[in-house]
């Protein structure tokens, strides 16, 4: 294809990406470098029901507005927000690393910092759920591929259900089912003969529940892609493998898997990115006390209370993007090398 035709085709989507993806990211990056102006506060008499009148601090909105008019973006703070306690916490990390009582102490103190706490769960979720969901999806695909055509439709539909259900709704359903009054929770209690067992009560069990939910929710995507891939496996190769005496496992190991490898890379890429942004299950499972993620931190900065911390949310967003880039870099580097080799 000549370059001109290529650009004519790609231009509209390129433009849309620039407008709706690249520019907002730039604006978020700029935002993350600024913090609010110092508020001008005054002491005024406040009268309200129950309290009577007291002298309380108030923000002088007019004076603050003047500051804001002069510099609408806020006060330049450089990377201050990135380095403060609620993000990378460099000062706290320094203190922990220079003065500590062994590895366990370091780990627990780092885990006590909100950003690293969120990062710990986010990374665990990403690296546990991605391979397991891909494996489960692949197994379902193999299974579905082997059943008689008559049953395929309904089985595919049921296998896709976890993906069709809205993530938040799916999370809520599983959450209710796993509560001690729900079918899963009650069954577990009677199986393990422990009437106080609750999946929501401890950090470990909450993490396990979230991870299981993640695998359940993400498996259908891998299944769909792998199932489509299975249809393209060359029959000749399979047949010759059979003639050579390869059993089913050997055919999968030496014919199917190598054939699906490029697809697996693609699925892994998409799933890594998706899982790194894990958010809905935490809200759905009311798991904030035990598990937070980077996306949840951003949400909490913007929607947690009456105040909105735009700088803080922007900084976490940029750190998330950096995280995604780091996660994907091995794959990106490989693709780049292959491209250059050609």
């Amino acid at each position: 294809m000549p370059h001109r035709a290529f650009f004519a085709f790609i231009m509209p989507s390129l433009l849309a990406m620039l407008l709706f993806i690249a520019l907002p990211i730039v604006s978020v990056a700029v935002q993350s470098l600024y913090v609010e102006h110092e508020r001008v506060v005054t002491e005024v008499e406040t009268c309200a029901p129950f309290a009577g009148c007291t002298t309380e601090t108030r923000v002088d909105a007019e004076a603050t507005e003047k500051l804001r008019d002069a510099e609408p973006l806020g006060r330049f703070n450089g990377f201050g927000t990135y380095l403060d306690r609620n993000h990378l916490a460099t000062a706290e990390m320094n203190a922990i690393l220079t003065d500590n009582a062994g590895f366990a102490d370091v780990a627990s103190r780092i885990y006590n910092l909100p950003f690293y706490r969120a990062l710990a769960f986010t990374l665990t979720y990403t690296f546990v759920v991605t391979p397991l969901a891909m494996l489960l999806g692949f197994c379902i695909a193999l299974g579905v591929n082997a059943i008689p055509p008559f049953y395929k439709g309904p089985v595919i539909f049921f296998s896709l259900l976890p993906m069709i259900v809205t993530p938040l709704v799916g999370a809520l359903i599983i959450y209710w089912m796993s509560s001690p009054q729900g079918i899963l929770g009650a069954t577990l209690q009677s199986l393990l003969n422990d009437s106080t067992l609750s999946l929501k009560s401890s950090a470990v069990l909450t993490w396990v529940t979230l991870l299981v939910y993640g695998v359940w929710h993400n498996a259908p995507f891998s299944f769909v892609v792998f199932y489509a891939g299975l249809q393209t496996v060359p029959h000749d190769t399979l047949e010759s493998a059979m003639i050579d005496g390869a059993n089913r496992w050997e055919r999968i190991r030496f014919v199917v898997i190598p054939h699906l490898m490029p697809l697996a890379t693609f699925v892994a890429l998409v799933q890594l990115m998706d899982n790194f942004r894990v958010f809905e299950p935490i809200v759905g499972f009311s798991a904030e006390a035990n598990a937070t993620s980077l996306s949840w931190s951003i949400f909490n900065d913007l929607r947690g209370q009456v105040d909105q911390l735009f700088g803080s949310a922007a900084a976490t967003s940029m750190l998330t993007i950096v995280g995604v880039v780091i996660l994907l870099s091995p794959v990106l580097v490989r693709t780049w090398r292959e491209f250059n080799r050609r």
Partner: protein, 415 residues
């Protein structure tokens, strides 16, 4: 003959409809303007807003957006000119961002002109200017099961020490496995529990006259200790229950003593909405005192309305009059079970006993300080680990202060 009768009745209906419209207009007395209301979404507010909507006429447009997301909409919606909403229905905490940004209009002249029915206690005054009109009060207070306590041989608990003793007795007698519940869900609810208890201990949240936090002290530690002691008698899932869910659990007969919102009391003591043996045995009381203190350990809240600054005077007048119509004394008098009204002539119903007892006991109001929201946020996320026994109380309070300080620096409140 029949036809004439039909026409006559149709004419009567139409006439009476017309008269009703005329009456409504006469009642509100608004000539023209638009009223756009942004409000939270619960039963009492639905009533107030629907009453205000009755002021709609050919020349007066009334629209509403009732959503629990109102806190997230209000600042951007009122910042633009003209503002998207003319009325913001707010509470102690949600008025603060609007005040911080200076988006509300002083109401003195409107109160003087149209506020004859308002009580002086309803006016929220800042620096001598009326900035909001409160119309109902709310607080968390005691709900308990008389029958269960009687079976355990106990009286109404007056303090949290009593509550703990009662819980112990109920559990030991095998009456209930988990007699207590609290809204300890990490986030807003957990922080509200801390603020309640800490105010009950007589603590100050901030250093006097500054935004510096002051919770890392004896009272803060005692607060956390009491909160933790209660969890021993709670369902192990206690960190996942918010204020609504503990009431549901209570109404299902799973708990005996809870400290829940007064605005939910009406449903709990109503035998239609709650099983009769629970509804009839429920007693509402003041929030307990704590640690030998004399005031109930609960923050007092009010709900009210404010008028946006960035709108025309005509719309402001129409909005104010529509809202004053929505909270006119008859509304509170006719619906005493919906809320604890602050309006004139309100006769408290059985549902309001708890809130009134808490207020009369001298409970403190939830602070309206500009940086309170940030502290609330930090409390909500940093106390969760302590509540589950993963860190010490000292460390938890230190974490709250550090997290708050970082946010307050970003918000421009601390240097």
């Amino acid at each position: 003959m029949k036809k004439t009768a039909f026409f006559a009745s149709a004419a009567t209906i139409m006439l009476s409809g017309l008269v009703a419209v005329q009456a409504a207009r006469a009642e509100c007395g608004i000539e023209k303007g638009t009223v756009r209301i942004l409000s939270n979404d619960f039963e009492a507010l639905r009533l107030v807003v629907s009453e205000a909507e009755k002021c709609a006429s050919a020349t007066v447009k009334v629209s509403k957006n009732q959503t629990s997301e109102h806190k997230n909409l209000q600042v951007p919606a009122l910042k633009i000119n003209p503002a998207q909403y003319t009325v913001a229905v707010i509470a102690n905490n949600s008025i603060v961002p609007l005040l911080n940004e200076g988006l509300l209009r002083p109401l003195d002249d409107l109160v003087a002109k149209y506020g004859q029915d308002l009580q002086p206690t309803q006016l929220i005054k800042l620096d001598g200017k009326v900035m909001a009109i409160a119309f109902m009060g709310n607080s968390q207070h005691l709900f308990f099961r008389k029958d269960i306590l009687e079976k355990a041989g106990l009286q109404q608990p007056k303090s949290y020490e009593d509550v703990l003793a009662a819980a112990k007795a109920i559990k030991e007698k095998g009456l209930m496995q988990y007699p207590l519940a609290a809204s300890n869900k990490a986030g807003w609810d957990l922080a509200a529990e801390f603020v309640n208890m800490y105010l009950g201990y007589g603590g100050e949240l901030f250093a006097a006259g500054s935004a510096a936090p002051a919770i890392n002290n004896e009272k803060g530690l005692a607060t956390l200790k009491t909160m933790k002691a209660m969890t021993e008698y709670m369902n192990p899932d206690y960190m996942t229950y918010n204020a609504d869910e503990i009431v549901k659990g209570y109404a299902a007969g799973k708990t005996a003593i809870i400290n829940a919102w007064g605005s939910l009391a009406g449903g709990v003591i109503d035998p239609v909405k709650t099983p009769a043996e629970i509804a009839d045995n429920t007693v509402l009381g003041a929030a307990p005192t704590v640690g030998g203190g004399s005031i109930p350990a609960a923050a007092l809240w009010w709900d009210g309305f404010s008028i946006a600054k960035n709108i025309s005077d005509e719309d402001a007048e129409a909005s104010f009059r529509a809202m004053v119509h929505g909270i006119r004394p008859e509304v509170g008098q006719k619906h005493p079970a919906l809320a604890t009204w602050l309006t004139k002539g309100y006769q408290p119903g059985p549902n309001a006993v708890g809130v009134l007892a808490t207020a009369n006991g001298g409970a403190k109001p939830y602070p309206m300080l500009p940086y309170m929201g940030l502290l609330h946020s930090a409390l909500g996320s940093e106390l969760a680990e302590y509540m589950q026994g993963r860190e010490s109380a000292e460390e938890a309070l230190k974490d709250v202060e550090a997290s708050y300080s970082a946010a307050a620096k970003e918000g421009g409140f601390l240097k």
